[in-house]
């Protein structure tokens, strides 16, 4: 029987899934097995429309799950809000910020965590689809429509075109020019989601298995059940990883986190004078569409909430009450997933603004939202100093 804390290297036993899926298709097969053996009633997958578009769907069809094999780096979705208030018995793949969002929703009683199997995915960052299209034309000089596949390898972003050619440019170079990963991904420091039930990724796979298998770390009893189930059902094959692989995985994690911290320092330079004017300028174009609130994976007030009910354009305040309430509410809840910036129709860098408030508060209270089940400090009875 598999135990919490154990590590494995595994791959799918289904040939086509193994070929199509990223790193051996283990995650896809594991989800399919969970559905087939009735461990869960449904699975969340991304249904691909094209290389830059996909919609998250909740499905009970095993074939749909198997068809979803393959990774998409330029579809920054977040599954937390999709599951909220639905009371599903579900398994889903989730990158670090999805996991954090789901746990935060769990704390707010919108998701029943005991019934949610979270398959964490190592994540070095995702890209905004519009920026990616632009980048393909400007940097790669290829038409977005010709792209057939993408991959990230050794710090290079590789796009394959339909005629079989590979185009590679280093991510550092892309980010210097303002393309590449989303800003929130650059300063994210959760690279291996150990807050999920089971953490999967290609880091730490060595030898001739490299690129063809997935490294798995079991983080909870639920995760052990999920993996055991898939092995028993004959969907996947696992073996123990070698020591070199474990060390390599830890090293990559360290390097990535270090880079994230560096970006954080670079982006959040303290503003010395007239901070109020800075925030006022940034929020000037807000059209009160409330899209940022709708997508926010930690917000769970619903349609009638403090931020909207106490806000009126007629007030003509120097600063929008809507944003002030959100700044305050997200001070301990913001997980820095970047969804708000992505959806903003007037391109306000909202994540950056929220993080400006969240960074000092979360540091002072030593509270990281979505990493464990600790109650948000705002609702604690006494301040622990």
């Amino acid at each position: 029987m598999m135990q919490k804390g154990e590590m494995y290297v595994g791959w799918s036993t289904k040939d086509d899934v193994r070929k199509r899926g990223g790193s051996g298709g283990l995650v896809t097969s594991m989800l399919a097995a969970a559905l087939e053996k009735k461990l869960v009633d449904s699975v969340v997958v991304l249904k691909k429309i094209n290389e830059f578009e996909a919609v998250p769907i909740i499905t009970s069809d095993v074939n749909e799950v198997l068809n979803s094999a393959g990774s998409l780096h330029s579809v920054p979705s977040n599954f937390a809000k999709l599951l909220a208030n639905r009371n599903l018995k579900v398994a889903l793949p989730a990158k670090g910020c999805d996991v954090r969002g789901i746990i935060e929703q769990g704390k707010r009683n919108a998701i029943y965590l005991d019934n949610t199997f979270i398959v964490g995915l190592n994540c070095g960052g995702s890209m905004h689809p519009v920026v990616t299209r632009d980048m393909l034309e400007v940097m790669y000089k290829i038409k977005p429509e010709d792209v057939h596949g993408e991959e990230i390898e050794k710090g290079k972003l590789i796009f394959k075109t339909k005629d079989g050619k590979e185009n590679a440019i280093t991510i550092d170079e892309l980010e210097e020019k303002g393309y590449g990963r989303r800003e929130s991904c650059r300063y994210c420091t959760i690279k291996i989601p150990n807050n999920s039930d089971i953490a999967c990724g290609n880091w730490g796979v060595t030898g001739d298995l490299a690129g063809k298998a997935t490294f798995v770390e079991i983080n909870s009893e639920k995760g052990a059940r999920l993996l055991q189930n898939a092995v028993d059902a004959g969907y996947i094959q696992v073996q123990k990883p070698d020591e070199k692989g474990v060390a390599m995985r830890a090293r990559i994690k360290g390097v990535m986190e270090g880079l994230g911290k560096k970006w954080k320092e670079k982006i959040f330079v303290p503003i010395d004078s007239n901070r109020l004017e800075y925030f006022r300028k940034e929020l000037e174009n807000c059209i009160d569409c409330e899209a940022c609130k709708t997508v926010c994976p930690t917000c769970s007030c619903g349609d009638v909430s403090k931020c909207t009910e106490y806000h009126s354009r007629n007030d003509a305040y120097r600063m929008s009450m809507y944003h002030l309430v959100r700044f305050l509410h997200l001070a301990d809840a913001c997980i820095g997933c970047g969804q708000c910036s992505d959806v903003c129709p007037v391109d306000i860098p909202l994540t950056r603004l929220y993080r400006r408030f969240a960074n000092p508060v979360q540091e002072q209270l030593k509270y990281e939202p979505g990493m464990d089940m600790r109650k948000p400090p705002y609702f604690e009875v006494k301040l622990n100093e």
């Binding site: 007239n274 901070r275 109020l276 004017e277 800075y278 925030f279 000037e284 403090k306 106490y310 007030d315 003509a316 305040y317 120097r318 600063m319 009450m321 002030l324 309430v325 700044f327 305050l328 001070a331 301990d332 400006r356 408030f357 000092p360 508060v361 002072q364 209270l365 400090p377 705002y378 604690e380 009875v381 006494k382 301040l383």
Partner: protein, 152 residues
């Protein structure tokens, strides 16, 4: 929205009196304000007192609303820790204030404009001194940058 905050700062020299919103809890600091009056402790007429049943009732939203409506300073006052009429209401105030303080600071509101103080019902002199000190500090700072247009 477009007017620069500099327009209102000119007024600070000619006898400008700051507007201070003071949230006082029913059991302690409101009593403190009362005894300040009864004990004839002199204090400037700059404070507008809002009585709440407990300082724990003060939502950060109330404070922001006060600023946005034109307050030059907002004071949050309550019973001393351990003396709360509702056992631990002011412990919760302390937590909320921590958030409020951080957000207000990051927003660029000077720390003198938002203050927390514990005042008991017998500390009339402390209340009067507190109001006097804050008024002096705010007079030096000038009108709040969050003050809406057309509000003195």
């Amino acid at each position: 929205m477009s007017a620069e905050p500099t327009a209102s700062t000119a007024a600070k020299t000619d006898g400008w009196e700051p507007k201070i919103v003071a949230f006082c809890c029913n059991w302690c600091s409101y009593g403190g304000a009362d005894s300040a009056g009864m004990g004839r402790f002199q204090q400037p007429a700059s404070a507008r007192i809002i009585r709440v049943m407990c300082s724990g009732r003060i939502d950060p939203l109330h404070v922001f609303n006060a600023f946005l409506e034109g307050a030059d300073a907002v004071l949050v006052t309550g019973c001393h820790i351990g003396d709360c009429h509702y056992v631990n209401g002011n412990d919760k105030t302390k937590i909320k204030y921590k958030y409020l303080e951080n957000v207000a600071h990051e927003l660029g509101i000077e720390k003198e404009r938002l203050q927390l103080n514990w005042i008991s019902a017998s500390e009339g002199e402390k209340f009067a001194n507190f109001i006097r000190d804050v008024t002096a500090q705010i007079k030096k700072l000038g009108p709040s940058p969050l003050k809406p247009e057309g509000v003195a």
